[in-house]
């Protein structure tokens, strides 16, 4: 217990907990929709393009925050513009997504190579660091989180409908394409905010794992969202505490815990599925 109290003496740990909690809540909610819509690949791509954004911003002497938002939101708009035509458009869509992702990462590498001083920081940009989060960053994160959650709350119902049955939703006059674009932009903004703390490669873990676990347990949106949030927050807190007490990075603890939860949820579902209790 004294250990825990000692941890709170450090302002950087307090900021880390604040930022981590905000990131976890937003990632869990946005991720729940992402998993439902089977857009993990797009989500992953939006997550990694923050890296070239941050590296590019550093190169031209701007704050990385601008770089994260500029790249993540622009990439979201571009992905949203890719036409989905016919049943076989899947291949082209994923080829485009993959190319955009790899090219932007290569750009990030180029920026890092041009800006010599950044090279050691590449790992931090990619994998994040919970040390040295400033109070300013926490405020930016909070504002973004509230904006993202407000937009999601506003479009939640039609988005849910459009995600579960796009054809029926379109037939009823729901603007499916517009919703899809809006959702990608929200995803991009959420990821840009979170990447500053968790790094470009690990924000995706918080998006996909708690949400997938919640959806393996329940099909109910309300319960699912609540479970997803609870799970993400617990995993982040435990990860922060473990990382504080050990030489190993937070990303390892967060992903391992979250993955264990996912595996347990999937395993727990198996017997149910065999008797046909879960559709």
């Amino acid at each position: 217990m004294t250990d825990l109290q000692q941890m709170w003496v450090f302002p950087f740990m307090v900021n880390a907990f604040r930022a981590g909690t905000i990131v976890a809540v937003v990632a869990a909610v946005v991720g729940w929709f992402m998993v439902l819509r089977r857009q993990s690949f797009a989500g992953h791509t939006l997550a990694v393009v923050g890296f070239p954004g941050a590296a590019g911003a550093t190169l031209v002497g701007l704050s990385t925050t601008y770089g994260y938002f500029a790249f993540c939101v622009t990439a979201a708009v571009v992905l949203g513009l890719i036409p989905r035509v016919g049943p076989d458009a899947d291949g082209l869509e994923s080829a485009l997504t993959g190319t955009i992702q790899a090219f932007l990462l290569a750009c990030g590498f180029l920026f890092a190579a041009l800006y010599k001083g950044l090279l050691g920081g590449v790992t931090a940009l990619l994998f994040g660091s919970f040390l040295g989060i400033t109070a300013m960053q926490v405020w930016v994160l909070l504002v973004v989180a509230i904006a993202v959650l407000v937009v999601l709350a506003a479009i939640g119902r039609p988005l849910l409908f459009a995600s579960i049955d796009p054809d029926a939703a379109a037939g009823r006059g729901v603007p499916v394409r517009l919703l899809s674009m809006l959702f990608l932009v929200v995803l991009g903004a959420a990821v840009a905010g979170a990447s500053q703390i968790t790094g470009s490669l690990l924000v995706f873990a918080l998006l996909v794992m708690p949400a997938a676990t919640a959806q393996a347990i329940t099909a109910s949106p309300r319960l699912g969202l609540a479970l997803s949030i609870a799970f993400a927050v617990v995993v982040t807190w435990v990860g922060l505490i473990a990382a504080y007490h050990s030489p190993y990075p937070i990303g390892f603890f967060v992903t391992t815990l979250a993955f264990a939860g996912y595996v347990l949820a999937r395993l727990g579902r198996l017997p149910l599925r065999t008797v046909g209790a879960v559709a």
């Binding site: 998993v35 485009l96 790899a102 290569a106 050691g120 590449v122 996909v208």
Partner: protein, 276 residues
């Protein structure tokens, strides 16, 4: 003249074979809408290489064991040897977390190591290949190419119309697994050239361009490999003339430019389903 320097010749030899393999494998990845699987395996390559470095064995061993092993695991998790995207996302996020763990172990426990090992695994170091590394990479990539050509016919059938192929006695599931193992091997060998984060571009861009330019499967397969090789050469040439540009960026820039051109000026194709 850079052309005669050994590092450039090594890069050319390994790069050409790797590009050919990636072009062939990539065509099937795009056709089967499994690009995300290729992405996941490229992240697994990162962890495999760093795990091997952390325990002190040849990183290539880690690369192949990790990528092929996880490729097969992803197949088991999905249906009919086709991975499911949520399962992929979960598995590779965890493996990436494991990769950071090994990175920390490697950089903190071994003294006097290359502090940028993580960065070079992520982004490749094709100009740093030794003769034996280049030859090994070329041989393995060549074997992947041969294997793809051997399974091309049934795999094409199984990819385009799985149900009919299965009914005609094509071992669809087995082919799915064999293909995943080949994707794993390709990701492992390509890591040395363009790095684990950028393999995806070499897999997706030439194949996407080829599919955009022709409807015929074999022509597209050959075109995909051909484009990948040309893009590799263009990238290597670019970065040897402009030393500030890392070769991985040159290769990816060439691949992206070709794909973008194909999408914008290529023939407007009917969706394949409607054409048949």
């Amino acid at each position: 003249m850079t052309l005669t320097q050994p590092f450039f010749q090594h890069a050319l030899l390994a790069g050409t074979a790797i590009a050919a393999a990636a072009g062939l494998i990539g065509y099937f990845l795009v056709l089967r809408a499994q690009v995300f699987t290729g992405d996941a395996l490229s992240h697994v390559a990162f962890t495999g290489a760093l795990a091997a470095l952390a325990i002190g064995v040849d990183p290539r061993l880690g690369l192949f064991v990790a990528t092929i092993g996880v490729a097969l695991l992803l197949g088991v998790l999905g249906r009919r040897g086709r991975p499911d995207d949520v399962a992929i996302g979960n598995v590779f996020s965890w493996i990436l977390g494991l990769g950071v763990f090994f990175l920390t172990v490697y950089t903190t426990s071994r003294s006097a190591v290359n502090g940028n090992a993580g960065v070079s695994v992520l982004f490749g170091s094709i100009f740093g290949l030794s003769t034996s590394q280049a030859v090994t990479a070329a041989v393995i990539a060549g074997l992947v190419c041969v294997a793809v050509v051997i399974v091309a016919r049934p795999l094409l059938f199984a990819s385009i119309d799985e149900a009919v192929a299965a009914a005609r006695g094509v071992p669809v599931r087995l082919l799915g697994f064999a293909f995943l193992a080949l994707v794993g091997a390709c990701a492992a060998v390509a890591t040395q050239a363009v790095g684990s984060l950028l393999i995806l571009g070499l897999l997706a861009a030439p194949a996407g361009a080829a599919q955009r330019l022709t409807d015929r499967p074999y022509r597209a397969l050959a075109l995909s490999a051909g484009l990948a090789i040309l893009e590799m050469w263009a990238g290597l040439a670019l970065s040897s003339t402009v030393p500030k540009v890392p070769p991985s960026f040159g290769i990816l820039a060439a691949a992206t430019a070709v794909f973008a051109t194909a999408v914008i000026v290529g023939p407007r194709r009917m969706p394949a389903g409607a054409a048949r």
